[in-house]
């Protein structure tokens, strides 16, 4: 068949969109390594808090940004991770580093449980309401299961311990947290870049067509929720180690809005956006602590503005600056 089928394009190999070389990514954590030398304990604590929210945001984004399902159960995974780590450390005397993986696995389990309504075909607002109820029910468990969780007063977690080395200042925690943040970013990046991540996005864009391409959509919805729970559960474990005292109130609807703000401002479906959002939004509560209510007002208005004027968040702004910043999970 000599006749051209479509308007002829340039001859192969076709030009490709410019991309940053992958190894450049490693310069970021490398550049961040000497940070504790320049920060006092409080500032270091704020930076550590940002690192806690990196896995929390990227995990949340996998479900709402990449898979595109309206699930409000992220705080549930966060709480499960924190309490798993706390209970294992306090009741069984396990060192913190041993509890990180169980915290992630419990988060994954909660993720699998939270995906059940989605697997049964529940979508949209129904799914949102149901996952919201799931998260609130868990918070109620934290409050009521006093012998294990310490009830409303919460539980004090011993200082984190890594291979026998006690991380008793913020600078020490920083290195453990930086490593965990980098690991979760790299692993999630690999997952999203693979056929699994493509399947998530395909389900988001057109579930029926995804199934017609031979994708068992149920299995991938389960996987996305479980991965989200795993990563966020690790974030919860980091949170327990950072704060040292966990209470049910840390996992209420206010926290949910904070996490939403992080993902929406950073950029739905963008890994870079999640990290950006964590860096910018997480610190806000620290500044406005003396004015109760102001933060809610600010986040509320901020989310409204982002939805109206920057629906793909800061990541899209960055991408507009230069095509090099276009990451794969983001399209404007």
């Amino acid at each position: 068949m000599a006749q051209p089928i479509v308007t002829p394009g340039p001859t192969s190999p076709t030009p490709r969109a410019p991309r940053l070389p992958r190894w450049l990514f490693w310069l970021i954590p490398l550049a961040l390594l000497p940070l504790p030398l320049y920060l006092d304990q409080y500032r270091q604590y704020v930076v550590n808090l940002i690192l806690v929210y990196v896995p929390v945001a990227i995990g949340f984004n996998v479900v709402i940004g990449n898979l595109g399902l309206l699930a409000f159960c992220n705080v549930a995974f966060f709480g499960i991770g924190a309490y798993t780590s706390g209970v294992l450390a306090l009741k069984l005397g396990l060192p913190w580093w041993v509890t990180i993986l169980p915290a992630g696995l419990m988060g994954a389990l909660a993720g699998a449980a939270a995906s059940v309504p989605a697997l049964r075909g529940v979508r949209l607002f129904y799914l949102a309401i149901m996952t919201l109820a799931f998260g609130e029910l868990l918070r109620w468990v934290y409050i009521r299961w006093v012998p294990v969780t310490g009830g409303s007063f919460g539980m004090s977690v011993p200082p984190p311990n890594v291979f026998g080395w006690v991380l008793d200042n913020e600078g020490h925690k920083y290195y453990a947290f930086l490593a965990l943040a980098v690991i979760t970013v790299v692993l999630t990046d690999r997952l999203l870049r693979s056929r699994f991540g493509r399947a998530f996005m395909a389900i988001k864009d057109n579930e029926q067509a995804a199934a017609a391409m031979g994708i068992p959509t149920d299995r991938y919805i389960l996987l996305a929720f479980a991965w989200s729970g795993f990563v966020v559960g690790i974030g919860g474990s980091m949170y327990a180690a950072l704060i040292g005292h966990i209470t049910p109130i840390a996992f209420d609807l206010t926290e949910l809005i904070l996490q939403f703000a992080v993902v929406m401002v950073g950029g739905l479906g963008s890994l870079t956006g999640s990290v950006l959002g964590a860096a910018l939004i997480t610190t806000a509560p620290e500044f406005f602590r003396p004015f109760p209510g102001f933060l809610e007002l600010l986040f509320g208005v901020l989310i409204v503005l982002v939805i109206l004027f920057l629906p793909r968040g800061l990541a899209s702004l960055l991408a507009r600056l230069h095509p090099l910043f276009v990451d794969r999970y983001y399209r404007d």
Binding site: R198, A209, A212
Partner: protein, 252 residues
């Protein structure tokens, strides 16, 4: 043995019989077009074959095996691929990624391999990407491979969707109104693509409203009206059929 055999299939939605005891076959390398007025049950018939609609009675055999009752992704895995009427592309994914999703079943990397970036997982991904690019180049739309599908022109989207459906070399392709919204010169190109695919032995079941396109590309034309088959013959014979004229005139 026919590639696809639809045998006395009935599909009901509540009290409405959308497809009423329809039988038809598609052979390897054959282009079979299904036409009929709006609401005649064409798309429902398609959905029944691809597993998106449950059949009330009858059988659907693909390569001699019953496929009714299977889930859409299972039917797809057996080698029945389809396109959708109103843009079934994944708009946020690039053209290339769309084709990679089409190749999903062929990209057999495990989750551990992916997370650890094992050499075999990387190799599988590289090979799949190369194949997807080659397929797009083959259809001469390689230059838009890295553009999000939502930004492509209507004609390019249609071709990406066909490439995506064909990526795993399925024996049977279902095309749901592929010519809708295409400019006349694009329609000619579509005809040549369909003929070329049939020439390679792929069986094609086609729903189309554009009669002149159907007449020039189909080996056989099946006419549905009110869910019933009213004609099944070569294009020229269908054109002269009184039942067909009635089916259309009754609605015009």
């Amino acid at each position: 043995m026919a590639l696809l055999e639809i045998d006395n299939v009935t599909v009901r939605f509540g009290g409405l019989t959308a497809v009423d005891e329809v039988s038809l076959t598609v052979g390897a390398g054959e282009v079979c077009a299904v036409i009929g007025p709006n609401g005649a049950g064409k798309t429902t018939l398609f959905n029944a074959v691809s597993g998106n609609a449950a059949i009330g009675s009858g059988r659907i055999l693909f390569q001699g095996e019953p496929i009714h009752g299977l889930l859409p992704h299972q039917i797809s895995a057996k080698g029945v691929r389809r396109t959708f009427q109103n843009g079934g592309l994944f708009g946020d994914l690039t053209a290339l990624e769309n084709v990679l999703v089409g190749l999903h079943a062929r990209v057999e990397s495990g989750i551990l391999g992916v997370l650890l970036a094992s050499p075999s997982a990387r190799r599988i991904e590289t090979e799949a990407t190369a194949r997807a690019r080659a397929l797009l180049d083959l259809m001469e739309i390689g230059h838009v491979a890295d553009q999000p599908a939502a930004q492509l022109s209507g004609g390019q989207q249609r071709i990406v969707e066909i490439v995506r459906a064909l990526a795993t070399e399925p024996p049977l392709l279902l095309l749901d109104e592929p010519a809708v919204g295409l400019a006349p010169h694009m329609r000619e190109q579509l005809v040549s693509i369909i003929r070329r695919l049939a020439g390679q032995g792929i069986g094609i079941l086609l729903i189309e409203h554009a009669i002149e396109l159907v007449m020039s590309v189909a080996d056989r034309v099946v006419v549905l009206n009110y869910g019933k088959k009213v004609a099944d013959a070569p294009p020229a014979a269908v054109r002269a059929d009184k039942n067909v004229l009635e089916a259309y005139l009754g609605h015009v």
